[in-house]
Symmetry: D2
Subunit: 341 residues, 4 copies
């Protein structure tokens, strides 16, 4: 049994990690960090976990990391780098924040507004999009989880860019995001009375921070700068991201490229040509469903991709990476079917 610590256990991604690890055959939760709620029982913070025998929340300082085999950091951006810079240098870490996703410190500062405070750790961090960085992740000490929007967009585009199937200068990602991606923050627009029964675009025009990840990854893949258009929308639902991606290329070739790229992937399902996935069919699971349709205008294709932002987009992906880092079967603890209805 591997001993696991989770920092930031009082947020949604922390709770999701606990949900998943509770069904894992070779991990046990040894410590739960949550500074603002230190001293509380998890069953009080998250009553849906009350049946589990979990350690109480403590501050990060109170954790004896010598007995921890792997630590998940589900802390807010910026806090994460400060905390991780002080953790033991040989501790295996999966970070769920944005802090170690961008390899170029200047890009980090451009998108996040502050100089990076853990440059040393940043250098060794491996980008955590499992399906495309599997070998690096197996050997990594510190893995930086991909952003939930960035993961969805990359699943829908990487095989196409790699196979040179689309016009790189005309890529539009229209994303529909559920509200849990915004976390447990107390904001007026996240109240039920404000959010339910309506929807809107936000961070329009190329201002969303996950663009930093798209730029970095797609440009490496293409061997030249690639800039996509990306507009997220907030939808009245709790879990799920649906990406509708408009590209110029041959739809059938695109569908074939997905089938080839993902044929042996346990969590990526390519649906038959012309069908469209729904977020309701991946809810609570680690699966990502991808569909391709042609348009009546020749040479255009619509790619749709759906995943659960808290699972495949965050905590599930993190556990998948942790499995690889510890030499466990990659799918362990992650094969639960989606919850529908």
């Amino acid at each position: 049994m591997y001993n696991i610590a989770i920092l930031g256990a009082s947020g949604y991604t922390g709770a999701e990690l606990i949900r998943l690890i509770a069904g894992h055959s070779s991990m046990q939760i040894k410590a739960l960090g949550g500074n603002s709620k230190a001293g509380q029982k998890m069953g009080d913070v998250f009553p849906h976990l009350r049946h589990l025998d979990l350690p109480d929340l403590v501050t990060a300082d109170e954790i004896n990391f010598a007995e921890i085999d792997l630590c998940f950091c589900a802390l807010p951006h910026k806090t994460s780098q400060e905390v991780i810079s002080k953790l033991p240098a040989d501790l295996k870490i999966v970070d769920l924040s944005a802090d170690f996703r961008l390899r170029d410190p200047e890009e980090y500062e451009k998108w996040y507004g502050n100089p990076h405070a853990a440059l040393e750790q940043q250098k060794e961090a491996v980008y955590g999009l499992t399906e495309f960085y599997r070998e690096e992740i197996k050997a990594a000490r510190l893995v930086a989880g991909t952003g939930c929007n960035a993961a969805t967009g990359q699943f829908a585009l990487r095989p196409l860019i790699e196979a040179d199937l689309i016009d790189l200068d005309d890529i539009i990602l229209d994303l529909k995001c559920a509200v849990s991606g915004a976390g447990r923050a107390l904001k007026e627009n996240l109240l039920h009375a404000e959010l339910s029964e309506g929807y809107h675009a936000y961070a329009v025009g190329g201002t969303h921070r996950h663009l930093g990840e798209f730029d970095q990854e797609f440009s490496v893949l293409a061997g030249r700068p690639v800039k996509v258009q990306f507009t997220p929308h907030l939808i009245p639902a709790n879990r799920g991201i649906l990406a509708t991606v408009y590209v110029k290329g041959d739809p059938q070739a695109i569908h074939a490229a997905f089938e080839k790229a993902y044929s042996s992937e346990p969590f990526i399902e390519v649906v038959p040509f012309g069908q469209t996935p729904s977020t309701r069919h991946i809810r609570g699971s680690n699966f990502c469903h991808i569909g391709v349709s042609g348009d009546r205008i020749e040479g255009r294709a619509i790619v749709t991709a759906a995943l659960d932002n808290l699972t495949k987009g965050s905590s599930g992906q993190a556990l998948q990476n942790a499995n690889l880092m510890l030499g466990i079967e990659e799918t362990e603890g992650l094969m639960m079917a989606p919850l529908f209805p």
Copy 2:
């Protein structure tokens, strides 16, 4: 007082017409047609209308159209043309179905799959997008209400096409539609257990019938064929359409064009540059909110437009047209504020 009949009063657009006319100062409802529920009281079919003194539902045959000043047809597509072809030739009619929207009978047959059964009436029908066909509507006997998606897209694009501000070959409409647009039909995917908490694209790739309206209207405006890409998505909410429109053109010029085009329109609100409207802020009202943002990629703009599919997208628009046809103030019965939260 003008005497009003509504055919198809047991559907959502019929009920919405009643809601609006109940607050209208110079219309009174004289007859309510609903073949499948003929004989029933409206308060039993729609308990939210039980406080109103309404006639019982009857079959269309039972209505004495000689005493009717204007008839709304809120019938299903195809049924509408059959019924209207048999109504008195001088009866003022506002049709909410798709049957008289396309001027070319071949286009109608292409999109709807059957030959048109009321070609004579089709010839005199006026397209009911009030803001752009005001004078024709005033003089019309038969007005064909614009489709809810088609209305949203046209509000977001007509001034730009007319002012020649955008690339006509690269227009993408990504629409997010609430479920009441699908009507009261008993379909598995419209059940609460199936629809809530998830969302997906449908009619992908240029197959949605409202494309016939876009093609017709934009090509006339541009003076040459225009084909847009249009992907609707079903969102877990009851009312609202949000269009996110991706165009190539100068964002500031586009915003200025909207402000100019809609400056004296009572129901179209152009929000400040960079802001984005939300469907929750127009719910239950006849307003349409339009926003424009630039992208980080120069020469690209994102237009967002929000309206209530049952009001401005259908029954509100129909009442606005009926006001014009009867010589009543255009805004009468339509100035109620949205319901929020």
Copy 3:
């Protein structure tokens, strides 16, 4: 035209007052108070009101009450009494808070935890349950709006207590309340991700403050102390209160008592015996629907009552009272049909 001021215009009941008054034929909004958002435009605080020509938000101090005919106070409890104690002594006021509902200052302190700070005003305050205090309200200077739960329960019980039809020692009110009743406060349990898709009881066991109103009113009616059991539940919806009231008495006699008591009430609809009202059929309106059913156990009846907490339960009731205080037709501005779906 009467000049109206609203204090607390940046909350939900304030916004609802504006929505209603926007359609009122003889009121105009002259001043909007909102200390924390003073200086802002209403269209920025509530974009659904952006089409209206409204004064900007100001602090209460900035309002010239000499030109105000009636002032609505939609402030939080406790704040309201402090503000009202400093307003001109001849200003007509409709208060929506709990501050002036209880006639006995000791009862007030018992339920609200602090000594009352405006005892003088409290003495003259009239309880604002319009249907039962109509004459007093017409003559009042200061009217204290009934709590939304307290109003629902009283509509479902007053005629029964008055006609001595039920066992006074065995009354159970099980209420299902939508979330807007909790206001715009930033609390974790009001977030969409926490509230939607689940429901629970709160303030169980006789601790909810609206019990003070039930005790006061029912005891006066009965001529002896009456204590009811009252359990509110938070339901994932934005508007609506449904009371299920369990009483011991003859169901048919109870139904007849309601029909008699409410026969000439414009906003109270008694549905046929055995039918049950739904909150979805009164949403956004000032109506209250009441139903009565018998049980298989003889001598027991179930009364169900539905109203919109923001309208009939709060701002609609307030406007109804203001109409009476100003000598306007009681129903003016309040006859809009519910919004369904």
Copy 4:
């Protein structure tokens, strides 16, 4: 590995069984019956199950029951008895319908309106409320799953009746039920546009069929006839039942009785005195949370119980029983944590 068949696999409880069995270590699905959708792939009927390697749907006739170790019948009421009467007489069966819950055929006919068509099988059927019929279930061939409402009410009342702690003539069950309990039937009131954002009572006054189960079970327990009042309400959520039970008795003694009765139960969690469970904290799981509060009126208590109607209320309970019937660990495949948010 035990070979499992599921009849009625195209409904919600069928799909839920597949979700659960997919994570079960010693069961494999050998056959899926679904007459109306025979010939279809499960991934087409329920896309959320598309990652699983499942047999296609067949008619019941096509299944070779000789190779089946246990058959779940998730068929509609009445159909179930007809089908089961024709299955091999030695086949282990867990029935999820209402057909074998009532031991007295006259009671069955009274509540369900038709004479029972499988009286022989009915005689041997064991009532499937696991926590109270464990030994009988272990030895049973045919187990009749408890109704979801009936299970919730019994968890909240059996220990109190057994310990003689409450007034048997004054028990009120006010239930709040999510929509999936109504199944996948195409009914107007189950449409998203009709159901969401509103709630109402139904089957008021002692007409709900689950009363047959309450009567049967409580009367046996008490040794004399017991009739409860039971009012279900339809809530806009997909999963969950919340029972609010009003009883006369000593609250602390009641809480103690629950703690004692359920101390070793793996799926029943008694929360601390005065706390109230929420359906959102048991969603998608096999847990039932129970709380007790006192009232301000002495000698009255409020019991609240929450479970997921599709899991603990139906398919999870069925799997729990199947585990016992096959000699497998009772909790196998059922310990997944709830999905929150």
